[in-house]
């Protein structure tokens, strides 16, 4: 029998018993829909967990620390430190899968504007690094090296709102709560607190030779030009103000009496991997170099592990409905074979091969699986849509990715096929003599 004959004959056989076929398909529809909706909820839970982590940073970024924890194998362990210097940064850069490396060159300073000031954590970046690590601005442009007297800076996402008067402690906001300081205000940067807290009595500690610390001259104030504001969605970076890394290093060196800054080594180096899949190998390579690492993937993996069980449970609940539907298919096919005993005998006498007979019945079951799967998938999308509206506030979501959609239809055909196997074998074994008997 040709395949087209097989397909059309099997379809006609189903069509002849529309009601029964419909009911069997309905069972499959419910089975498929229940498993798809359950699994989609599981995927929603997993997705929500991953997203909640991803919200705190990039999944492809590894944070490398000079400190690492070394397990001694019996539950204990010790910390050790290895210097993270420019040489180490160069080596990390060479690890396959590493897209970019950024040592965290950061320092702490104060920005003064009129009577107001704010504290600033300043991160030194290059335009290239900013791009690689996805640092984005809500407005303006990244800082450039600038002139000798003016220093370009990008303010942290919330910097403008954080200005306050150091004397009165009042926030620099108007009646409506809008910041008084704008990015066009005149701003000065200093690393010496005495430039800011001028009017306060400075508690001077006598030094060993009896002279007061105040003898130290006031540090310089630098003119700032705000070129932009950080985007609030920069995860780790939103809080930072940005300056060109060379400029920042220059300032830090000039103010080394006021800031702790050692340009020869870093506490933290950020490593950006090309793909999520690279993170693990890159991490291991860095650990082998003797540094401590942390990536969000660690957390995500743990979360995935813990949601896996929930997913299995949900899938199993849905699976029960599918199992019942599969038994329904088997029942339908068995009934159909008993009804058609004579017909099967006749086509055997007329020369229908037994593998064709089995094929006909398997095709019929597969049709039930196909229609059940397809309609069930349609129903699942409907339920999913409805659930997402009803559950919007609870944070639960139903997600049906493409692989689940196609997988569900494929799986339903396979289940139907398996359910049709036994009936098909029964049909193969029926005697052709049934055709001869005259009832």
């Amino acid at each position: 029998m040709s395949i087209t004959d097989m397909l059309s004959t099997a379809f006609l056989n189903l069509w002849r018993r529309k009601m029964r076929a419909f009911l069997t398909v309905l069972g499959m529809v419910i089975g498929v829909a229940s498993i798809v909706v359950m699994v989609s909820l599981g995927i929603g839970i997993k997705q929500a967990t991953i997203e909640s982590f991803a919200g705190t940073g990039s999944l492809t970024t590894i944070r490398v620390n000079s400190w690492s924890y070394v397990s001694n194998g019996n539950g204990g362990g010790s910390s050790r430190q290895k210097e993270l210097n420019k040489k180490a940064v160069g080596e990390i850069k060479k690890i396959p899968g590493v897209q970019a490396v950024m040592p965290l060159v950061e320092t702490y300073g104060m920005i003064k504007s009129g009577n107001y000031m704010t504290d600033a954590s300043i991160l030194g970046v290059t335009a290239e690094q900013a791009k690689e690590f996805g640092i984005t601005l809500s407005e303006g442009e990244l800082p450039e090296a600038g002139g000798t007297n003016t220093y370009e800076i990008v303010l942290g996402a919330w910097s403008l709102g954080n200005f306050y008067n150091p004397d009165s402690g009042r926030q620099a906001v108007d009646k409506n709560g809008n910041p008084r300081i704008s990015k066009d205000s005149r701003m000065l940067l200093t690393f010496d607190y005495r430039n800011v807290y001028k009017n306060q009595v400075v508690i001077s500690m006598p030094s060993s030779d009896g002279t007061a610390q105040e003898e130290k001259p006031l540090a310089e104030m630098y003119k700032l030009k705000v070129t932009g504001i950080m985007d609030e969605n920069n995860n780790d970076f939103s809080y930072y103000c940005l300056m060109d890394v060379a400029q920042l290093e220059k300032l830090a060196k000039a103010n080394k009496d006021y800031v702790q800054y050692d340009s020869s080594k870093y506490n933290t180096v950020l490593v950006k991997c090309r793909n999520i899949e690279d993170v693990k190998t890159v991490k291991n390579a860095i650990q082998d170099m003797g540094y401590g690492t942390y990536s969000l993937q660690d957390a995500v993996e743990m979360a995935e592990e813990s949601t896996k069980n929930v997913q299995y449970l949900l899938g199993a609940i849905g699976g029960v409905a599918l199992l019942v539907a599969a038994i329904g298919i088997m029942n339908t096919m068995m009934m159909s074979i008993f009804e058609r005993t004579k017909e099967i005998g006749i086509i055997k006498v007329l020369g229908c091969r037994i593998d064709n007979i089995a094929g006909l019945f398997l095709t019929e079951s597969a049709y039930i699986g196909l229609f059940g799967g397809a309609l069930g998938l349609g129903l699942s999308f409907g339920i999913s849509l409805l659930l997402n509206q009803l559950l919007a506030s609870s944070g639960l979501r139903s997600i049906i990715p493409a692989y689940l959609a196609f997988g569900a239809v494929g799986f339903s055909i396979i289940v139907a096929f398996a359910a049709g196997m036994y009936p098909a074998i029964r049909a193969m074994k029926l005697s052709p003599l049934a055709a001869i008997r005259n009832e």
């Binding site: 006609l12 007329l350 020369g351 005697s431 001869i436 005259n438």
Partner: protein, 247 residues
């Protein structure tokens, strides 16, 4: 072997086990049927004639003995091989017609061709020719329920011959028909088979129908009791036979 018989039956026995009782349906049958023979097997009910037909058509396995058709041993074949054998060599006419009720006459005739993988257009064309041969071309779109018994059996004949088999088996082909229609249907069967030079093995309990054959084999209690060569069969006049029976 020197014999060239199309069908060669050698000491065939068939025993049914009914509960603890053995029923001997065939007790050693030897039979040769040549190509082109029109052959009737006649006997009372329980004589084993249907069993003989079933084992000849490969629908049942023999208990012992050999059945050789076209040089092939049926008793050594599996069910799957038997089906393929039937597909190639055998046409079958049933007592109760056994047409598929949801197919038209044309589709019913074309059905065996679909099992051989003949494309739809080709098999419908061939089926149409066969319906013409049995004189039913005007009824090709009718479902079996819209046809008379005689017409249904003619569709059955067309279906049996559509694959151009060497041998046609007929199991009481007129058993469900009245006597006038029976004669008409027998004429159709015999005429076509003679014209095409095919072999017919027909089972009947009706002496009158059996007389259509060149060779009439009588069966009683699972044994052949008589083989009559009917030389007049080729030009037989049914009305004469009927009168002869009455006398």
């Amino acid at each position: 072997m020197q014999d060239t018989a199309l069908i060669d039956v050698r000491n065939v026995k068939k025993v049914y086990h009914v509960g603890s009782v053995d029923v001997n349906a065939l007790r050693g049958v030897d039979l040769k049927i040549d190509s082109g023979d029109i052959c009737s097997i006649i006997g009372r009910s329980g004589s084993g004639k249907s069993t003989l037909l079933n084992v000849l058509a490969g629908l049942e396995q023999v208990t012992s003995g050999e059945i050789v058709i076209s040089g092939k041993h049926l008793e050594r074949m599996t069910q799957g091989e038997l089906i393929v054998f039937r597909q190639r060599h055998i046409g079958f006419i049933f007592q109760s017609f056994n047409l598929m009720p949801y197919y038209t006459a044309l589709e019913n005739v074309a059905l065996p061709l679909s099992f051989r993988g003949v494309p739809k257009a080709a098999r419908l064309k061939r089926a149409e020719q066969m319906l013409e041969v049995v004189g039913l071309e005007s009824h090709k779109a009718h479902k079996p329920s819209e046809l008379s018994g005689g017409q249904q059996q003619r569709v059955g004949i067309a279906r049996a011959l559509v694959t151009n088999p060497e041998i046609v088996f007929a199991d009481e082909p007129t058993g469900n028909l009245d006597s006038n229609t029976s004669d008409e249907v027998m004429r159709v069967i015999i005429d076509i088979l003679r014209e095409q030079g095919k072999t017919l093995v027909m089972v009947t309990h009706d002496v009158h129908i059996a007389a259509f054959g060149d060779k009439v084999i009588s069966l009683l209690d699972g044994r052949i009791t008589d083989i009559k060569i009917n030389s007049e069969a080729r030009s037989i006049d049914i009305s004469n036979i009927r009168e002869a029976e009455v006398q």
